[in-house]
Symmetry: C2
Subunit: 229 residues, 2 copies
DNA sequence: TATATTTGCGTCATTATTACGCAAATAAGA
DNA sequence: TCTTATTTGCGTAATAATGACGCAAATATA
Protein backbone atom coordinates (compact mmCIF):
# COMPACT_ATOMS: atom_id res chain seq x y z
CA UNK A 1 0.00 0.00 0.00
CA UNK A 2 2.24 2.75 -1.28
CA UNK A 3 1.10 6.29 -0.77
CA UNK A 4 2.33 8.66 -3.47
CA UNK A 5 5.60 10.02 -2.24
CA UNK A 6 7.86 12.64 -3.69
CA UNK A 7 11.05 11.99 -1.80
CA UNK A 8 14.46 11.76 -3.41
CA UNK A 9 17.11 9.34 -2.23
CA UNK A 10 20.77 10.34 -2.27
CA UNK A 11 24.03 8.96 -0.97
CA UNK A 12 26.94 10.96 0.40
CA UNK A 13 30.44 9.79 1.20
CA UNK A 14 32.76 11.14 3.86
CA UNK A 15 36.17 9.91 2.77
CA UNK A 16 39.13 10.05 5.11
CA UNK A 17 42.78 10.13 4.17
CA UNK A 18 45.95 10.58 6.20
CA UNK A 19 49.43 11.86 5.71
CA UNK A 20 51.95 12.53 8.42
CA UNK A 21 52.35 16.22 7.56
CA UNK A 22 48.68 17.06 6.89
CA UNK A 23 47.12 14.87 9.53
CA UNK A 24 43.70 13.38 8.80
CA UNK A 25 41.96 14.92 5.80
CA UNK A 26 38.53 14.70 4.20
CA UNK A 27 37.65 14.72 0.54
CA UNK A 28 35.35 17.56 -0.52
CA UNK A 29 34.03 18.91 -3.81
CA UNK A 30 33.14 22.41 -4.85
CA UNK A 31 29.56 22.52 -6.07
CA UNK A 32 29.02 23.43 -9.70
CA UNK A 33 25.29 24.09 -9.59
CA UNK A 34 22.74 25.72 -7.32
CA UNK A 35 21.81 25.35 -4.56
CA UNK A 36 25.02 26.19 -2.70
CA UNK A 37 26.82 26.76 -6.01
CA UNK A 38 30.52 27.37 -5.35
CA UNK A 39 30.32 26.02 -1.77
CA UNK A 40 32.25 22.98 -0.62
CA UNK A 41 30.27 19.80 -0.08
CA UNK A 42 30.62 16.12 0.66
CA UNK A 43 30.69 14.15 -2.58
CA UNK A 44 27.49 12.28 -3.38
CA UNK A 45 24.39 12.25 -5.52
CA UNK A 46 21.09 10.62 -6.31
CA UNK A 47 20.69 6.88 -6.33
CA UNK A 48 19.63 5.25 -9.58
CA UNK A 49 16.70 2.93 -9.49
CA UNK A 50 18.54 -0.28 -10.26
CA UNK A 51 21.78 0.21 -8.33
CA UNK A 52 22.58 -0.61 -4.73
CA UNK A 53 23.41 2.17 -2.30
CA UNK A 54 27.04 1.09 -2.11
CA UNK A 55 27.33 1.04 -5.87
CA UNK A 56 25.87 4.53 -6.03
CA UNK A 57 28.49 5.75 -3.55
CA UNK A 58 31.38 4.33 -5.52
CA UNK A 59 29.96 5.58 -8.80
CA UNK A 60 29.51 9.12 -7.52
CA UNK A 61 32.97 9.15 -5.99
CA UNK A 62 34.43 8.04 -9.27
CA UNK A 63 32.47 10.64 -11.23
CA UNK A 64 33.10 13.54 -8.92
CA UNK A 65 36.59 12.93 -7.65
CA UNK A 66 38.10 9.93 -9.42
CA UNK A 67 38.85 8.36 -6.06
CA UNK A 68 38.54 4.63 -5.42
CA UNK A 69 37.85 3.72 -1.84
CA UNK A 70 39.65 1.12 0.32
CA UNK A 71 37.12 0.85 3.13
CA UNK A 72 33.42 1.65 3.11
CA UNK A 73 30.64 1.38 5.66
CA UNK A 74 27.29 3.00 6.19
CA UNK A 75 27.34 5.93 8.60
CA UNK A 76 23.84 7.29 9.13
CA UNK A 77 20.77 8.39 7.20
CA UNK A 78 19.85 12.04 7.30
CA UNK A 79 16.22 12.79 6.55
CA UNK A 80 14.99 16.04 8.06
CA UNK A 81 12.17 17.42 5.85
CA UNK A 82 13.97 20.64 4.92
CA UNK A 83 17.57 19.61 4.60
CA UNK A 84 17.50 20.18 0.84
CA UNK A 85 15.87 23.46 -0.24
CA UNK A 86 14.72 21.96 -3.56
CA UNK A 87 12.56 19.06 -2.42
CA UNK A 88 12.47 16.41 0.24
CA UNK A 89 15.67 14.42 0.05
CA UNK A 90 16.95 11.77 2.36
CA UNK A 91 20.60 11.02 2.21
CA UNK A 92 22.28 7.79 3.24
CA UNK A 93 25.73 8.86 4.36
CA UNK A 94 28.69 6.51 4.04
CA UNK A 95 32.04 6.51 5.75
CA UNK A 96 35.08 5.74 3.63
CA UNK A 97 38.85 5.53 3.89
CA UNK A 98 41.62 5.59 1.34
CA UNK A 99 45.02 4.47 2.50
CA UNK A 100 48.01 6.76 2.49
CA UNK A 101 49.54 5.15 -0.56
CA UNK A 102 46.54 6.18 -2.61
CA UNK A 103 46.13 9.70 -1.40
CA UNK A 104 45.43 9.94 -5.10
CA UNK A 105 45.67 12.62 -7.65
CA UNK A 106 42.25 14.19 -7.90
CA UNK A 107 40.31 14.75 -11.05
CA UNK A 108 37.16 16.80 -11.20
CA UNK A 109 34.30 16.03 -13.55
CA UNK A 110 30.56 16.15 -13.69
CA UNK A 111 29.11 17.70 -10.59
CA UNK A 112 32.22 19.28 -9.18
CA UNK A 113 34.27 22.23 -10.34
CA UNK A 114 36.95 20.96 -8.05
CA UNK A 115 37.76 18.25 -5.55
CA UNK A 116 40.22 18.68 -2.72
CA UNK A 117 41.50 17.17 0.49
CA UNK A 118 40.93 19.32 3.59
CA UNK A 119 42.64 18.63 6.91
CA UNK A 120 39.93 18.13 9.52
CA UNK A 121 41.60 20.77 11.64
CA UNK A 122 40.91 23.33 8.93
CA UNK A 123 37.57 22.77 7.21
CA UNK A 124 35.66 25.23 5.03
CA UNK A 125 32.00 26.17 5.34
CA UNK A 126 29.91 23.37 3.90
CA UNK A 127 26.70 23.15 1.86
CA UNK A 128 23.41 21.69 3.16
CA UNK A 129 23.71 19.92 6.54
CA UNK A 130 27.06 18.50 5.51
CA UNK A 131 28.86 19.93 8.48
CA UNK A 132 26.68 17.85 10.75
CA UNK A 133 27.31 14.73 8.69
CA UNK A 134 31.02 15.37 8.78
CA UNK A 135 31.02 15.85 12.53
CA UNK A 136 29.31 12.53 12.96
CA UNK A 137 31.78 10.84 10.64
CA UNK A 138 34.77 12.17 12.54
CA UNK A 139 33.21 11.02 15.78
CA UNK A 140 32.70 7.58 14.27
CA UNK A 141 36.29 7.39 13.13
CA UNK A 142 37.57 8.42 16.56
CA UNK A 143 35.44 5.87 18.34
CA UNK A 144 35.80 3.03 15.90
CA UNK A 145 39.57 3.10 15.71
CA UNK A 146 39.69 2.31 19.43
CA UNK A 147 37.79 -0.95 19.14
CA UNK A 148 38.38 -2.07 15.55
CA UNK A 149 41.56 -2.09 13.50
CA UNK A 150 40.46 0.49 10.94
CA UNK A 151 43.32 2.84 11.75
CA UNK A 152 45.55 0.69 9.56
CA UNK A 153 43.37 1.51 6.57
CA UNK A 154 44.57 5.10 6.83
CA UNK A 155 48.25 4.19 6.71
CA UNK A 156 50.28 2.56 4.00
CA UNK A 157 50.14 -1.18 3.97
CA UNK A 158 53.65 -1.15 5.45
CA UNK A 159 54.26 1.53 8.04
CA UNK A 160 56.66 2.63 10.72
CA UNK A 161 55.42 2.16 14.24
CA UNK A 162 55.74 5.87 14.89
CA UNK A 163 53.22 6.56 12.15
CA UNK A 164 50.64 4.41 13.90
CA UNK A 165 51.42 6.12 17.17
CA UNK A 166 51.16 9.54 15.56
CA UNK A 167 47.83 8.65 13.94
CA UNK A 168 46.31 7.55 17.22
CA UNK A 169 47.63 10.37 19.35
CA UNK A 170 46.58 13.11 16.94
CA UNK A 171 43.17 11.66 16.18
CA UNK A 172 42.34 10.71 19.74
CA UNK A 173 43.78 14.03 20.80
CA UNK A 174 45.47 12.68 23.86
CA UNK A 175 49.11 12.00 24.69
CA UNK A 176 50.11 8.41 24.16
CA UNK A 177 53.05 6.88 25.97
CA UNK A 178 55.15 5.50 23.15
CA UNK A 179 56.44 2.51 25.07
CA UNK A 180 53.15 1.42 26.58
CA UNK A 181 51.36 1.97 23.29
CA UNK A 182 53.75 -0.28 21.46
CA UNK A 183 53.61 -2.99 24.11
CA UNK A 184 49.82 -2.93 23.97
CA UNK A 185 49.54 -3.08 20.19
CA UNK A 186 52.23 -5.74 19.81
CA UNK A 187 50.55 -7.90 22.44
CA UNK A 188 47.38 -7.95 20.34
CA UNK A 189 49.24 -10.22 17.94
CA UNK A 190 47.84 -8.69 14.77
CA UNK A 191 50.98 -7.00 13.45
CA UNK A 192 53.76 -8.51 11.44
CA UNK A 193 57.21 -7.03 11.87
CA UNK A 194 59.05 -6.92 8.56
CA UNK A 195 62.76 -7.38 8.08
CA UNK A 196 63.04 -4.03 6.40
CA UNK A 197 63.89 -0.66 7.87
CA UNK A 198 61.49 2.21 7.48
CA UNK A 199 62.66 5.01 5.18
CA UNK A 200 64.60 7.55 7.18
CA UNK A 201 63.07 10.90 7.97
CA UNK A 202 65.63 13.03 9.78
CA UNK A 203 67.52 11.80 12.80
CA UNK A 204 66.86 8.92 15.15
CA UNK A 205 67.48 5.23 15.38
CA UNK A 206 66.01 3.32 12.44
CA UNK A 207 63.08 1.04 13.08
CA UNK A 208 61.45 -1.80 11.20
CA UNK A 209 58.35 -1.59 9.08
CA UNK A 210 55.19 -3.28 10.27
CA UNK A 211 52.05 -4.46 8.56
CA UNK A 212 48.58 -5.37 9.70
CA UNK A 213 47.81 -9.08 9.46
CA UNK A 214 44.11 -9.33 8.76
CA UNK A 215 44.08 -13.12 8.83
CA UNK A 216 45.59 -13.15 12.29
CA UNK A 217 43.07 -10.56 13.42
CA UNK A 218 40.11 -12.52 12.10
CA UNK A 219 41.39 -15.69 13.72
CA UNK A 220 41.98 -14.06 17.08
CA UNK A 221 38.69 -12.21 16.96
CA UNK A 222 36.96 -15.48 16.35
CA UNK A 223 38.60 -16.83 19.48
CA UNK A 224 37.09 -14.00 21.49
CA UNK A 225 39.98 -11.55 21.37
CA UNK A 226 39.10 -7.99 22.23
CA UNK A 227 40.76 -5.21 20.24
CA UNK A 228 41.06 -2.06 22.28
CA UNK A 229 43.43 0.86 22.22
CA UNK B 1 20.08 18.26 -10.53
CA UNK B 2 17.56 15.61 -9.69
CA UNK B 3 17.22 12.67 -11.99
CA UNK B 4 13.73 11.19 -12.06
CA UNK B 5 13.68 8.52 -9.44
CA UNK B 6 11.00 6.05 -8.50
CA UNK B 7 12.18 4.96 -5.13
CA UNK B 8 9.97 4.70 -2.07
CA UNK B 9 11.17 5.56 1.41
CA UNK B 10 9.98 3.58 4.39
CA UNK B 11 10.82 3.27 8.06
CA UNK B 12 10.77 0.11 10.15
CA UNK B 13 11.03 -0.25 13.90
CA UNK B 14 12.52 -3.14 15.82
CA UNK B 15 11.09 -2.72 19.29
CA UNK B 16 12.50 -4.63 22.23
CA UNK B 17 10.76 -5.47 25.46
CA UNK B 18 11.72 -7.61 28.42
CA UNK B 19 10.05 -9.62 31.11
CA UNK B 20 11.72 -12.00 33.47
CA UNK B 21 9.69 -15.02 32.38
CA UNK B 22 9.69 -14.36 28.61
CA UNK B 23 13.18 -12.97 28.27
CA UNK B 24 13.77 -10.35 25.60
CA UNK B 25 10.96 -10.02 23.09
CA UNK B 26 10.37 -8.17 19.84
CA UNK B 27 7.20 -6.53 18.62
CA UNK B 28 5.88 -7.91 15.33
CA UNK B 29 2.75 -7.44 13.24
CA UNK B 30 0.91 -9.84 11.00
CA UNK B 31 0.59 -8.35 7.54
CA UNK B 32 -2.90 -7.61 6.30
CA UNK B 33 -2.12 -7.11 2.64
CA UNK B 34 0.06 -8.58 -0.09
CA UNK B 35 2.95 -9.00 -0.47
CA UNK B 36 3.62 -11.44 2.37
CA UNK B 37 -0.03 -11.24 3.45
CA UNK B 38 -0.48 -13.19 6.67
CA UNK B 39 3.27 -13.28 7.39
CA UNK B 40 4.84 -11.66 10.43
CA UNK B 41 6.79 -8.47 9.87
CA UNK B 42 8.53 -5.64 11.65
CA UNK B 43 6.14 -2.72 12.08
CA UNK B 44 6.74 0.20 9.75
CA UNK B 45 5.53 1.98 6.67
CA UNK B 46 6.10 4.70 4.14
CA UNK B 47 7.32 8.11 5.17
CA UNK B 48 5.07 11.09 4.46
CA UNK B 49 6.58 13.99 2.63
CA UNK B 50 6.43 16.51 5.45
CA UNK B 51 7.29 14.36 8.45
CA UNK B 52 10.68 13.48 9.89
CA UNK B 53 11.85 9.88 9.87
CA UNK B 54 11.51 9.62 13.65
CA UNK B 55 8.00 10.99 13.52
CA UNK B 56 7.11 8.45 10.85
CA UNK B 57 8.37 5.65 13.08
CA UNK B 58 6.33 6.74 16.06
CA UNK B 59 3.25 7.31 13.92
CA UNK B 60 3.45 3.88 12.33
CA UNK B 61 4.02 2.20 15.67
CA UNK B 62 1.01 3.97 17.06
CA UNK B 63 -1.16 3.04 14.09
CA UNK B 64 -0.08 -0.57 13.83
CA UNK B 65 0.46 -1.59 17.42
CA UNK B 66 -0.60 1.23 19.74
CA UNK B 67 2.81 1.11 21.39
CA UNK B 68 4.63 4.22 22.56
CA UNK B 69 8.39 3.88 22.65
CA UNK B 70 10.76 4.78 25.52
CA UNK B 71 14.01 4.75 23.60
CA UNK B 72 14.63 5.21 19.88
CA UNK B 73 17.73 5.36 17.72
CA UNK B 74 18.50 4.79 14.09
CA UNK B 75 19.80 1.31 13.29
CA UNK B 76 20.68 1.00 9.61
CA UNK B 77 19.29 1.72 6.17
CA UNK B 78 18.47 -1.23 3.96
CA UNK B 79 18.41 -0.48 0.27
CA UNK B 80 19.07 -3.51 -1.93
CA UNK B 81 17.29 -3.01 -5.26
CA UNK B 82 15.00 -6.04 -4.91
CA UNK B 83 14.19 -6.13 -1.23
CA UNK B 84 10.56 -5.20 -1.93
CA UNK B 85 8.92 -7.16 -4.76
CA UNK B 86 6.61 -4.26 -5.64
CA UNK B 87 9.07 -1.48 -6.42
CA UNK B 88 12.38 -0.13 -5.22
CA UNK B 89 12.05 0.70 -1.55
CA UNK B 90 14.70 1.76 0.85
CA UNK B 91 13.93 1.34 4.51
CA UNK B 92 15.48 3.26 7.35
CA UNK B 93 15.36 0.85 10.26
CA UNK B 94 15.10 2.09 13.83
CA UNK B 95 15.87 0.41 17.09
CA UNK B 96 13.44 0.94 19.95
CA UNK B 97 12.86 -0.14 23.53
CA UNK B 98 9.82 -0.10 25.77
CA UNK B 99 10.46 -0.60 29.44
CA UNK B 100 9.04 -3.53 31.36
CA UNK B 101 6.37 -1.44 33.03
CA UNK B 102 4.87 -0.65 29.65
CA UNK B 103 4.98 -4.05 28.10
CA UNK B 104 1.69 -2.64 26.96
CA UNK B 105 -1.57 -4.08 25.91
CA UNK B 106 -1.48 -4.34 22.16
CA UNK B 107 -4.10 -3.03 19.82
CA UNK B 108 -4.14 -3.80 16.14
CA UNK B 109 -5.41 -1.37 13.57
CA UNK B 110 -4.70 -0.24 10.06
CA UNK B 111 -1.99 -2.30 8.48
CA UNK B 112 -1.91 -5.21 10.86
CA UNK B 113 -4.35 -8.00 11.51
CA UNK B 114 -2.49 -8.57 14.71
CA UNK B 115 0.46 -7.38 16.72
CA UNK B 116 2.35 -9.58 19.15
CA UNK B 117 5.48 -9.87 21.25
CA UNK B 118 7.79 -12.72 20.26
CA UNK B 119 10.65 -13.89 22.46
CA UNK B 120 13.86 -13.60 20.44
CA UNK B 121 14.59 -17.24 21.21
CA UNK B 122 11.46 -18.22 19.32
CA UNK B 123 10.85 -16.07 16.28
CA UNK B 124 8.53 -16.81 13.35
CA UNK B 125 9.39 -16.61 9.65
CA UNK B 126 9.44 -12.96 8.63
CA UNK B 127 8.39 -11.01 5.54
CA UNK B 128 10.82 -9.20 3.19
CA UNK B 129 14.40 -9.02 4.50
CA UNK B 130 13.10 -8.44 8.00
CA UNK B 131 14.97 -11.36 9.45
CA UNK B 132 18.22 -9.73 8.48
CA UNK B 133 17.14 -6.42 10.00
CA UNK B 134 16.15 -8.16 13.17
CA UNK B 135 19.45 -9.98 13.42
CA UNK B 136 21.29 -6.71 13.12
CA UNK B 137 19.10 -5.12 15.77
CA UNK B 138 19.73 -7.93 18.25
CA UNK B 139 23.43 -7.65 17.59
CA UNK B 140 23.24 -3.92 18.24
CA UNK B 141 21.39 -4.44 21.50
CA UNK B 142 23.92 -7.03 22.65
CA UNK B 143 26.86 -4.81 21.84
CA UNK B 144 25.42 -1.54 22.97
CA UNK B 145 24.33 -2.69 26.39
CA UNK B 146 27.97 -3.46 27.20
CA UNK B 147 29.19 0.08 26.64
CA UNK B 148 26.10 2.25 27.22
CA UNK B 149 23.46 2.06 29.92
CA UNK B 150 20.56 1.11 27.66
CA UNK B 151 19.88 -2.12 29.50
CA UNK B 152 18.03 -0.12 32.11
CA UNK B 153 15.53 0.96 29.48
CA UNK B 154 14.35 -2.63 29.28
CA UNK B 155 13.66 -2.93 33.01
CA UNK B 156 11.21 -1.11 35.18
CA UNK B 157 12.39 2.21 36.46
CA UNK B 158 12.91 0.53 39.81
CA UNK B 159 14.31 -2.97 39.68
CA UNK B 160 15.85 -5.70 41.76
CA UNK B 161 19.52 -6.24 41.17
CA UNK B 162 18.88 -9.82 40.15
CA UNK B 163 16.74 -8.59 37.26
CA UNK B 164 19.64 -6.60 35.89
CA UNK B 165 21.90 -9.56 36.31
CA UNK B 166 19.42 -11.85 34.61
CA UNK B 167 19.00 -9.44 31.72
CA UNK B 168 22.72 -9.25 31.06
CA UNK B 169 23.45 -12.92 31.46
CA UNK B 170 20.62 -14.07 29.20
CA UNK B 171 21.21 -11.44 26.53
CA UNK B 172 24.98 -11.73 26.49
CA UNK B 173 24.53 -15.47 26.68
CA UNK B 174 27.37 -15.98 29.08
CA UNK B 175 27.47 -16.85 32.76
CA UNK B 176 27.88 -13.80 34.96
CA UNK B 177 29.35 -14.09 38.42
CA UNK B 178 26.71 -12.47 40.57
CA UNK B 179 29.15 -11.02 43.09
CA UNK B 180 31.65 -9.63 40.62
CA UNK B 181 28.86 -8.26 38.44
CA UNK B 182 27.35 -6.35 41.31
CA UNK B 183 30.67 -4.97 42.46
CA UNK B 184 31.40 -3.77 38.95
CA UNK B 185 28.04 -2.12 38.35
CA UNK B 186 27.90 -0.49 41.78
CA UNK B 187 31.38 0.92 41.34
CA UNK B 188 30.23 2.75 38.21
CA UNK B 189 28.31 5.07 40.51
CA UNK B 190 25.23 5.36 38.32
CA UNK B 191 22.74 3.41 40.43
CA UNK B 192 20.72 4.65 43.34
CA UNK B 193 19.84 2.13 46.00
CA UNK B 194 16.33 2.71 47.29
CA UNK B 195 15.14 2.15 50.82
CA UNK B 196 12.49 -0.21 49.65
CA UNK B 197 12.57 -3.96 49.35
CA UNK B 198 11.86 -5.56 45.98
CA UNK B 199 8.57 -7.49 45.79
CA UNK B 200 9.12 -11.08 46.85
CA UNK B 201 9.18 -13.80 44.27
CA UNK B 202 9.57 -17.14 46.01
CA UNK B 203 12.28 -17.83 48.53
CA UNK B 204 15.50 -16.02 49.26
CA UNK B 205 16.78 -13.10 51.22
CA UNK B 206 15.01 -9.87 50.28
CA UNK B 207 17.03 -7.19 48.50
CA UNK B 208 16.57 -3.50 47.89
CA UNK B 209 15.27 -1.91 44.72
CA UNK B 210 17.66 0.10 42.56
CA UNK B 211 17.20 2.74 39.94
CA UNK B 212 19.35 4.17 37.19
CA UNK B 213 20.49 7.73 37.87
CA UNK B 214 20.81 9.36 34.48
CA UNK B 215 22.08 12.64 35.89
CA UNK B 216 24.90 10.89 37.66
CA UNK B 217 25.72 8.98 34.50
CA UNK B 218 25.82 12.12 32.37
CA UNK B 219 28.02 13.87 34.91
CA UNK B 220 30.45 10.98 35.21
CA UNK B 221 30.53 10.43 31.46
CA UNK B 222 31.40 14.07 31.04
CA UNK B 223 34.32 13.54 33.39
CA UNK B 224 35.62 10.78 31.15
CA UNK B 225 34.06 7.80 32.89
CA UNK B 226 33.93 4.65 30.82
CA UNK B 227 30.83 2.46 31.08
CA UNK B 228 31.63 -1.14 30.39
CA UNK B 229 30.11 -4.40 31.49
C1' DT C 1 12.67 -27.12 62.43
C1' DA C 2 15.30 -28.33 58.38
C1' DT C 3 16.28 -27.23 53.56
C1' DA C 4 16.61 -24.76 49.45
C1' DT C 5 17.10 -20.23 47.68
C1' DT C 6 18.64 -15.65 47.23
C1' DT C 7 21.23 -11.60 48.85
C1' DG C 8 25.33 -9.19 50.89
C1' DC C 9 30.00 -8.79 51.82
C1' DG C 10 34.36 -10.25 51.64
C1' DT C 11 39.40 -12.42 50.29
C1' DC C 12 43.04 -13.61 47.24
C1' DA C 13 45.62 -14.69 43.02
C1' DT C 14 46.20 -13.22 38.42
C1' DT C 15 46.29 -9.91 34.82
C1' DA C 16 46.30 -5.09 32.86
C1' DT C 17 47.54 -0.53 33.15
C1' DT C 18 50.44 3.30 33.94
C1' DA C 19 54.54 5.88 34.92
C1' DC C 20 58.95 5.87 34.20
C1' DG C 21 64.41 4.79 33.33
C1' DC C 22 67.94 4.07 30.18
C1' DA C 23 70.89 2.31 26.41
C1' DA C 24 71.46 1.90 21.25
C1' DA C 25 71.39 3.80 16.55
C1' DT C 26 71.16 7.41 13.71
C1' DA C 27 71.55 12.74 11.55
C1' DA C 28 73.25 17.13 11.96
C1' DG C 29 76.04 20.68 13.81
C1' DA C 30 80.38 22.30 16.09
C1' DT D 1 85.87 13.68 14.72
C1' DC D 2 83.14 14.66 18.65
C1' DT D 3 79.02 16.24 20.68
C1' DT D 4 74.12 16.83 20.79
C1' DA D 5 69.44 16.08 19.62
C1' DT D 6 66.36 12.65 18.10
C1' DT D 7 64.17 8.37 17.68
C1' DT D 8 63.84 3.41 18.65
C1' DG D 9 64.01 -0.77 21.67
C1' DC D 10 63.67 -2.99 25.90
C1' DG D 11 62.95 -3.01 30.44
C1' DT D 12 61.12 -2.50 35.82
C1' DA D 13 57.96 -1.41 39.48
C1' DA D 14 53.80 0.42 41.59
C1' DT D 15 48.95 0.50 41.11
C1' DA D 16 44.43 -0.83 39.40
C1' DA D 17 41.15 -4.05 37.40
C1' DT D 18 39.48 -8.68 36.85
C1' DG D 19 38.01 -13.27 37.99
C1' DA D 20 37.41 -17.26 41.00
C1' DC D 21 35.57 -18.39 45.02
C1' DG D 22 34.02 -18.74 50.42
C1' DC D 23 30.56 -17.99 53.56
C1' DA D 24 27.00 -15.91 56.57
C1' DA D 25 22.29 -13.68 56.74
C1' DA D 26 17.40 -13.52 55.49
C1' DT D 27 13.67 -15.43 53.56
C1' DA D 28 9.83 -19.27 51.65
C1' DT D 29 8.53 -23.80 51.68
C1' DA D 30 8.34 -28.53 52.94
Amino acid sequence: MKTTQNISVAVDAIVFGYQKDQGVSILLIKRKYAPFKGKWAIPGGFVKEKESLEFAVERELKEETGVKIDYLEQLYTFGKPNRDPRNRTISVAYFGIVNAGKFQKLQANTDAVDAEWFPIKNLPILAFDHRQILTMAIERLRNKMTYEPIGFELLNQRFAFSELEDLYSTLLDRPVDRRNFKKKVIKLGILEELDEKAPRTGAGRPGNLFQFNKNAYDRLKNDGMHFEI
